[in-house]
Amino acid sequence: MLKISLSRLEELFAAIAEKQTLYIPSDRADGAAEFTKWEPGKALTQKLNTLRSAKDFFFPQTENIVDFKMEGKNIQVIDQRSEHEDFVIFGVRPCDARSFTILDKVFLSEPVDSFYKNRRDHGTVVTMACSRPAETCFCGTFGIDATEPEGDAACWSDGEDLFIKANNDKGQAFIDSISSLLEEGDTAKLDQVKAKTKEILSRLPLANLSTAAFGGDTLNEHFNSEKWAELSESCLGCGTCTFVCPTCQCYDIKDFNTGNGIKRFRCWDSCMYSDFTKMAHGNPRTSQLERFRQRFMHKLVYFPANNNGEFGCVGCGRCLSKCPISMNIVKVMKALEVK
């Protein structure tokens, strides 16, 4: 497999950044990792994953989609779309890489979301295999192999070298663009690292978490479960889980009156919020129980029902770490699977 010494990462990043804008996960002042634009001297984080997911690259929290300008009796419609620049996201973890596949199913199915597609077409996802999974990880539950990441191109580290392999044409074009820095390398040590990681993955506290009790055909059973009352009892109704989640994709459209026109924004929304999917008569889900249920039913029942059995979760564990009251999809699954 092609490789480059880890000591030459800076050189590699510089070579990528020369051609395209490069984003890498790096540590910010408070110690948390986040994707930031690479510039000389910016180092790759040692943390397992970024605090926020990588979905912002394709589905930003807020985007101005169209403006309307009033001039007398005329309304001018100003399309805010422009061809996105080419960019590379380096170091995406296997869970987050899978989240793009899930988002694709929503935004790239008919009618195609041109804002999302524009960014997706111009972005190259370079993934990084995991070697130190956390106790909150459960990507295996959703069929993700943390040692064999998806994405356009995939990377592995054996502690000395960074190995890289293309998963598709876009990934191959990316590797070709940096091929002068790469050399063929022996993967014997990497294979050992992978085997060790697999062994750890099998011992994770959530390694046995199963989706067997869920799926598109379990709607009535789960929707009507009495357990939602207890599960949702202490939910604060905040949007933390939704906003750190790599697969939550619901959005709202907001118009701002500029005085002589309208600026229209698309922004992330949360089913936990009281004004979610607000219609003329209000929010169809009037209680926090219903809002809470919606989020988990979407991921475990409705999404697979509409997407050939694929679940709307990748097991990244962010909601497990960040929910202010530590209620999360794992606790919900474990409670609901007991008949």
Partner: protein, 323 residues
């Protein structure tokens, strides 16, 4: 302590004194504790937990729970009792329908501080004479208890329970804390430095509203920021300053009512030190109107909703702004 709490809760459930118990429920790991309502001895035995990670302030749940039929038992740490008093003062809870058992406070642990040391794959955390022994998937790790203390506990203002019906353990005193040190540091910065500090911090905000929703002082039936008809609902931030304004406005809204329980900063997924905004208000109120601690009692008039001839004049804004 946990055993004594469970025992007493069972007694009060059994003799009909209370119908429900608010406490903390154990999770999947050593640290992911969820506030919960228990209704039976079996539930208490199975899941009730009180340990170094039970830091959540459960007093806000009383807004809802105290209005249900039958008395509710709640276990409150000293800091949590200030929140309950403030809620009582604002007529947001039915205090007569609440039975408070005061329990010892922290210091509680912050799992994020343990993880920040690079410790991962955490299977258990044991406090061995103030050294944390942490069993992980990658072997055993140790670190001093003192380095994993939650920020809100590190600057604890009081070990005194300001309201309770009975105590388990002993009551403590109001403490001399260093909680205004960082506020002073910020005050001593130049306006530009201070602006830069807050811009960096507040720009991390993802508007999840966790700070607002956990805040015992934020109990409006409908928050103005959730009301699409208010004109200020800003789920979509039209510029990078909107999140900043949200936090500043919220701090104004809870000024004089915030007890400094520290939950806002504890739950912030982006590690924004929101409590510093509240502490600035508390410090200013103390210096401009005389020492005042929100939640210390249920009857006194709060400085910002009271008038005395000694109140500072509006010109104070002008004078201080010139500093």
């Amino acid at each position: 302590m946990q055993e004594a709490m469970i025992k007493r809760a069972k007694e009060l459930l059994a003799d009909g004194s209370v119908k429900r118990v608010i406490g903390w429920k154990r999770g999947e790991f050593a640290y992911d504790i969820t506030p919960a309502v228990f209704e039976s001895a079996e539930e208490l035995d199975k899941d009730f937990v009180f340990d170094d990670f039970t830091s959540a302030n459960v007093s806000k749940y009383l807004v809802k729970e105290s209005k249900k039929e039958g008395k509710v038992l709640v276990f409150l740490k000293p800091c949590d009792t200030y929140s309950l008093n403030q809620l009582t003062k604002e007529h947001r809870v039915d205090r007569d329908n609440i039975y408070v058992i005061g329990i010892p406070g922290g210091p509680k642990l912050d799992i994020e501080k343990i993880k920040a040391k690079g410790i991962t794959g955490i299977l258990s955390v044991k406090n061995d004479n103030y050294t944390l022994k942490i069993d992980t998937l990658y072997g055993e790790e140790t670190m001093p208890f003192s380095e994993a203390i939650l920020d809100k506990c590190a600057s604890c203002k009081s070990k005194k329970h300001v309201t309770y019906d009975e105590l388990i353990g002993e009551d403590g005193d109001v403490l001399d804390s260093d909680r205004f040190d960082m506020v002073e540091k910020l005050e001593n910065m130049t306006a530009q430095e201070r602006y830069d500090f807050w811009r960096e911090q507040l720009s991390k905000c993802i508007r999840c509203n966790a700070c607002r929703n956990v805040c015992p002082a934020c109990t409006c039936e409908k928050c103005v920021f959730d009301n699409p008809n208010s004109g200020v609902e800003n789920k979509a931030a039209s510029d990078s300053f909107e999140e900043n304004m949200f936090h500043i406005i919220r701090a104004f809204h809870v000024a004089g009512r915030c007890t400094d329980c520290g939950e806002c900063s504890r739950v912030c997924p982006q590690n924004i030190p929101l409590h510093l905004l509240n502490r600035k208000f508390i410090k200013d109120i103390n210096s401009l109107y005389g020492e005042y601690q929100a939640g210390a009692d249920t009857t006194s008039r709060a400085p910002l909703t009271d008038y005395t001839a000694d109140d500072c004049e509006a010109s104070i804004v002008h004078e201080r702004g010139a500093e």
